[in-house]
């Protein structure tokens, strides 16, 4: 076989291999959930003319209370209930790192959860926890106490 023919065959073989590999790669990724990049195919949603969306965000009023707390209020009279949420900067990230809580430590691991449990069941003012829960339950109010990494909150939803 002539040297030039051999080279020609080598080129053909390399090209065929590249095409096969490309096809193989395409097959592997063909089940991706999105249509392939550059894929030109008709979509069931072709031809839709969607109207513009109109939305005016609610007006939020910000005030500073004398104690330093910031108060945000937004009015909405469409349903007869009020949601009051108190956010406190804090959260589990503010708890001291380390193993078991040491005596006298006020912010060791678990201290936030202990505080939240106390808030939830420890009552308020002269009322015991059970009495408060009963009273809130009787009026259909919901009290939620939650925490995240950087905050904890107390939320009251009431008619």
């Amino acid at each position: 076989m002539k040297r030039s023919n051999l080279k020609y065959l080598q080129i053909c073989f390399a090209a065929a291999t590249a095409l096969l590999l490309a096809g193989f790669v395409q097959t592997i990724f063909a089940d991706a959930r999105a249509p392939q990049s550059g894929e030109n195919r008709a979509s069931i949603l072709d031809g839709l003319r969607l109207p513009a969306i109109a939305f005016a965000p609610p007006t939020v009023k910000r005030e500073a209370l004398t104690g330093g707390a910031r108060l945000y209020t937004a009015g909405d009279a469409s349903l007869p209930f009020v949601t009051l949420t108190l956010y406190f900067r804090g959260g589990t990230l503010t708890e001291a790192m380390g193993g078991a809580r040491t005596a006298g430590s006020s912010n060791g691991p678990g201290s936030l959860q202990a505080l939240l449990a106390l808030l939830e069941s420890g009552g308020a003012g002269t009322q015991s926890g059970d009495a408060l829960a009963r009273e809130l339950g009787a009026m259909g109010a919901q009290l939620k106490i939650q925490s995240g990494n950087e905050y904890w909150s107390v939320q009251l939803v009431v008619l």
Binding site: D31, A34, L50, I53, P80, L118
Partner: protein
């Protein structure tokens, strides 16, 4: 009712926690004071704060609704709530596990999975080429399943030669099926529906199947309603159920995860099977493993053609919806569908008889107690729904105080009225989570205490304060959740399908107001008798049995009974 009615019709991802949702969460670090029970004639100082003026609220809500029935029977309920420029779109078919047969148990749920697999226009690069592969896959799967059946029969008969031959055939056809599946793969665009909806800002794209219904749901920006109409009308008419046999494996895995590996779910599945027997409610929604493994494309397609008809569906669009435009869209995309005769599923009368199911498996001990009761709209259903909250809807309630606080036999207790569905006679259900280490005798003692409390209701009734508390709680919980468009859409379609009238949703408050303590007492007397009580118990295996089994096999302890 408003919240508890949802418990048996929760989205697919929540179904695993079905009965668990009825439980009261035990507050972290809750103090267990010995308290005077709330039912001891304590008059609430609050009183019925929510009754009168809320009637106007509910009337106002009704006025924000338009209901339309298309000539083909499709019902459309639209509700205007313009807090945000979004719309919740719910489509509910009266097609659930109670419409199946024993041979097709699990097909309603399987079909729900399959309807996310596309149509000739969604999920494929070339349906013309794909179709022949789908047909071939169906033929090989049929032969594979036939061989698997023969294998099972041969094994049962102890015929080793026949079993070997059947196993070889099953293996051969399974390989052929895999080859076809790999060949068709390049033609398939998986989850294209989800991708398209995501391009348009979807939230909560999901579905769920219950004993009574199958529901498809999504929330979209308000100006994308036509995206929903185009995709859902296509799904409702043209689904091709592609990748059926791959998805069948997904569903068997789902069952392994949710049921086989969950002793509590196993207990209640077995219990409901015993309680209902041949009744449509006796079948688990997901289906038994033996049935799922042999479900086929034809069964799914037949169920689809039978029940996914416009006259068997209700659509709710709730949110920033323009009634005229939305109705025009629904007429344009769904109006041409042809109605079909929907077969009614006959249900035999339930048999009131003693049932006691004891499952011994590792896991937290659980006690379930159940009594048959009538479904909505029977007046006893409403009375018993209120009673379930009086008994266990909070920490100040009768059962919680008795079992958790005073006698300290349990860590939690919940009560729920209306399981497993609302189409037929259903159950009043009490579930107790006893303290760890509880034995069967203590389980019986707890069951006796629950019955004592029910007998006390029969003897002395409930107090006005208890009834007021529950009414206030239910009304308030309902109002709070009305901001969630999806919640409202789900309830509207539920009420329309169950009662044929979405309006009942807003009249529940008035109906609740008319209930008197004596009505609840009468319903308890009629339906919650000791002789009609049915019991489900989950306990750990006895220690000697566990150790013996462990010696025999490292995994043997998982399936003891």
């Amino acid at each position: 009712m408003f919240a508890s009615r949802l418990l048996h019709e929760t989205p697919r991802r929540l179904q695993a926690a079905l009965l668990g949702l009825a439980m009261i969460p035990l507050a972290a670090g809750a103090t267990l004071h010995a308290q005077t029970p709330a039912n001891d004639s304590q008059d609430s100082s609050i009183g019925d704060t929510t009754a009168g003026n809320l009637d106007e609220v509910f009337t106002g809500l009704e006025s924000k609704i338009r209901r339309v029935t298309l000539p083909n029977g499709l019902r459309l309920i639209m509700m205007k709530q313009d807090y945000a420029p979004t719309i919740a779109c719910y489509m509910k078919f009266k097609a659930g596990s109670s419409d199946e047969t024993d041979a097709s148990s699990g097909i309603a749920h399987m079909l729900e999975h399959m309807l996310f697999k596309g149509t000739p226009r969604v999920g494929t690069r070339d349906f013309g080429r794909e179709r022949k592969y789908l047909e071939m896959a169906g033929r090989f799967a049929e032969k594979m399943d036939a061989a698997r059946r023969e294998l099972g029969a041969a094994k049962a008969a102890g015929d080793e030669a026949a079993a070997k031959a059947a196993a070889e055939r099953a293996s051969f056809y399974a390989k052929q099926l895999r080859i076809i599946q790999s060949q068709v793969r390049p033609l398939v665009i998986e989850e294209e529906d989800s991708y398209l909806y995501s391009l348009h800002g979807q939230r909560g794209y999901n579905a769920y199947t219950s004993a009574d219904f199958t529901n498809y749901q999504i929330e979209l920006p308000a100006n994308r309603l036509e995206v929903w109409a185009r995709l859902e009308s296509d799904r409702m008419q043209n689904s091709v159920l592609r990748s059926f046999y791959t998805e069948r494996n997904v569903v068997t895995e789902e069952r392994r995860m949710r049921v086989e590996n969950n002793p509590r779910r196993q207990l209640f599945e077995k219990f409901i099977g015993e309680v209902y027997g041949d009744h449509p409610y006796g079948r688990p929604v997901i289906g038994p493993m033996a049935s799922i493994e042999f479900l086929n494309h034809n069964q799914a397609f037949e169920f689809y053609r039978r029940y996914y008809a416009p006259n068997n569906a209700v659509i709710a669009l709730v949110g920033d919806v323009d009634f005229e435009q939305a109705e025009a869209l629904v007429r344009k995309y769904f109006g041409d569908m042809q109605p079909r005769a929907i077969p009614k599923t006959p249900a035999p009368e339930v048999e009131r008889r003693p049932v006691r199911v004891v499952l011994r498996q590792k896991g937290s001990p659980t006690l379930g107690l159940a009594w048959f009761k009538p479904p909505v709209p029977d007046v006893h259903d409403l009375n018993l729904d209120l009673l379930s909250d009086i008994l266990a809807g909070g920490q100040e309630t009768r059962l919680y105080q008795r079992l958790v606080t005073r006698e300290q036999l349990a860590v939690n207790v919940g009560a729920y009225s209306g399981y497993p569905g609302e189409r037929y006679t259903n159950l009043f259900f009490v579930e107790v989570t006893p303290r760890p280490g509880t034995d069967e005798a203590t389980m019986d003692r707890i069951a006796k205490i629950v019955q004592e409390e029910l007998d006390r209701v029969v003897r002395d009734g409930v107090t006005a304060a208890e009834l007021t508390r529950v009414r206030n709680k239910q009304r308030a919980d309902f109002i709070y959740r009305l901001r969630a468009n999806g919640f409202v859409a789900d309830l509207l379609t539920n009420n329309e399908q169950h009662k044929g009238a979405y309006r009942d949703l807003f009249r529940y408050s008035q109906r609740m107001e008319s209930v008197q303590p004596a009505d609840i007492q009468e319903s308890a007397r009629e339906f919650l008798r000791a002789e009609h009580r049915m019991t489900a118990i989950l306990l750990p295996p006895p220690p000697e049995e566990s150790s013996k089994k462990l010696e025999e096999s490292p995994t043997a302890g998982e399936q003891q009974q």
